[in-house]
Amino acid sequence: MKQIVLGITGAFMLFVVIALTAPLAIAQSQSEQLSDEQRARIITNCTSMKNTLTQLKASDALLRVNRGKAYESLRLRLMDTFNSRLSSNSLDAEGMVSVTKSYDSTLSDFRTAYLVYERQLTVTMRVDCSKDPDAFHAAILESRTKRAAVHAKVLELHSRIDDYKTVVNDFYEDFKRVSGSDA
């Protein structure tokens, strides 16, 4: 019993030590990245940077809405309907269904990645860059990484569209060959 209590106390102490030292270590590494001149420049440009971020947030939201619509309609109006049509005609739509599933999953990842990025950008905009340039700089870097992740998902979606095109083309070639030999 005594050992359990000691174990729990030890774990708690370790947690407290990590919780107290980790932010200090992060803050230290961030402060090492910025020179005094850079810090001063962030403070000087604080207002204009906030304005830039506000504009970026609005334009990215518009981009998300418009691109999201384009990607959604491609799936709902073409991929799903085409797969259903092939299945209802007892044709093998396995290749198309597989790519559609993969496209769906990437689309879901794109939505999540944007959500994460948007939240990080909101957090960044809340940081007072005139008072805490280091935290602002760190938040900017984090937002930048998350925006890059959204772009990676966009590229992945484009790649899935090409994959679908390829499987449909293969299907078309097979269909032509089979229907040609039947004729």
């Binding site: 850079q38 420049r41 962030i42 000087t44 440009n45 204009s48 940077m49 830039t52 506000t54 970026l56 947030k57 609005a58 334009s59 990215d60 939201a61 518009l62 981009l63 998300r64 809405v65 418009n66 691109r67 999201g68 384009a70 990607y71 309609s73 491609l74 109006r77 073409l78 309907t81 085409f82 259903s84 049509r85 092939l86 209802s88 005609n89 944007y114 959500l115 948007e118 700089h137 900017i140 870097l141 937002s143 930048r144 925006r147 890059a148 959204v150 772009h151 966009v154 590229l155 979606l157 484009h158 569209i161 090409d162 679908y164 095109k165 449909v168 083309n169 299907f171 078309y172 269909f175």
Partner: protein, 125 residues
Amino acid sequence: MSDLETKTTDVELTTFWARHRFFLLVFFTIIIALTMTVVSLVVYNLSGSAQLDLSRPGYQSVSSQVEREDNTGEFSASGSVSRETLEDFMKLFNEYGDRAKSVDAFNGDPLNPEILEFTDTTANQ
């Protein structure tokens, strides 16, 4: 004696609820409405709907640029499959696909600190 006391208390309680029932109705209605509002706002924010809502303050400048849905060019899920229908589909898919891929969204690096933070914007003013 004890029974009498209990009865008296019950009567007092009944009288209290009966006397204040309208006030309590209003009070609980407000509590329920507030709870529902909080829940719906939490769902609105957590589900990601808020991020797509361009009618929010600060987004009016871009809300007019939302692309309207084009209802033409939907491929039918029913019907036979022939070489022509496949060709029609491929043409339609290429059209939609090219449109979807036409924008390399979230490209560029506007959050690059070199560009965002260290460009002295005051120097140009």
